[in-house]
């Protein structure tokens, strides 16, 4: 039961994160928001690794495409803050769910990023439609 509470709490904190980052947009440019969001997290994580793990930090030995995560991080925070400011956190998160479901289905279907291949089946379609209806109700309701 406690783990269910943890998961709901994870969602609550993520909701706070999206909303607060959106509010920073009233003061900073999109890239300014990205800077503060990532810089503060980097400092805390750096301290955690230094204090808890007590091992030197090295980023060697990863595939080259892993180094694109920073660009993706900037793009994600910038777009989510921009959209939250204009359409609100609820609509932004609901629409993002649709994007996540579609991209996950495509990645599974083609087996990209070494994911095990799982073909899209038509019987999954009603589930996607139900989510789509839910998103439309949230955005236009």
């Amino acid at each position: 039961m406690i783990y269910f509470v943890f998961l709901v709490l994870a969602g609550i904190f993520q909701g706070f994160m999206v909303s607060l980052n959106g509010q920073l947009g009233n003061y900073y440019s999109l890239f300014g928001i990205c800077f503060f969001v990532h810089m503060i997290a980097a400092v805390f994580l750096f301290l955690y690794i230094i204090i808890k793990e007590k091992k030197p930090i090295s980023f060697r030995g990863v595939p080259k495409y892993v180094y694109t995560v920073g660009f993706m991080g900037v793009a994600m925070v910038a777009t989510s803050s921009w959209c939250t400011l204009h359409i609100g956190a609820t609509a932004m998160l609901s629409l993002s769910v649709i994007g996540q479901m579609l991209s996950a289905a495509i990645i599974d279907h083609y087996g990209w990023f070494n994911a095990s291949k799982r073909a899209f089946r038509l019987k999954q379609l009603p589930c996607y439609l139900l989510v789509l209806i839910g998103v439309l109700v949230v955005v236009y309701g």
């Binding site: 993706m72 089946r121 839910g134």
Partner: protein
């Protein structure tokens, strides 16, 4: 309309980013995998702020003038990550997806009310439909997975 398209694109990027982060975590360990993301993004966004001519945002007086609460978004993100890792390890992908979305969307409704003063009760119905849709999809996926494993086992025994 552009905001809706960009929000969907954000979801696409989110999944790809997750896959790449998982790979980084496998190679470097979860904390270092996340740190590479944060450090790179900090440097890139710092450069971009100056490129677009908004360097004045980094003046100390200006930074001090912004309410402290709004800087706490990234700390919320870190706390969420810890809860998510512990929760997912002990429950499973389906439960974690549905419960996390429930918390996320519920909070978004509450904060939209606080910051924008907007609340439409029909949004709760929308969120309920989204959660049922996700739960259903995960159920179908798990059933398929189970059948695939059973089929493989049967082939091996033959």
């Amino acid at each position: 309309m552009i905001f809706y398209i960009v929000a969907i694109a954000n979801g696409f990027l989110n999944t790809v980013n997750k896959m790449v982060n998982v790979k980084a975590g496998q190679c470097l360990g979860t904390p270092r995998g996340a740190l590479i993301n944060y450090i790179e993004a900090t440097v890139i966004s710092f450069c971009l702020v100056y490129i677009v001519g908004k360097g004045s945002e980094f003046r100390f007086e200006y930074i001090k003038g912004v309410p402290l609460l709004f800087y706490l978004g990234s700390i919320c993100g870190l706390i969420a990550m810890i809860f998510l890792i512990i929760g997912t390890k002990n429950t499973g992908a389906m439960t974690s997806t549905v419960l996390m979305l429930f918390g996320q969307l519920g909070t978004a409704i509450a904060l939209d009310y606080v910051f924008f003063g907007s609340f439409r009760p029909v949004q709760i119905l929308g969120i309920f439909l989204i959660l049922v849709g996700i739960y259903w999809k995960e159920k179908v996926r798990q059933k398929d997975l189970r059948q695939a494993i059973l089929g493989r086992n049967e082939e091996e025994t033959k």
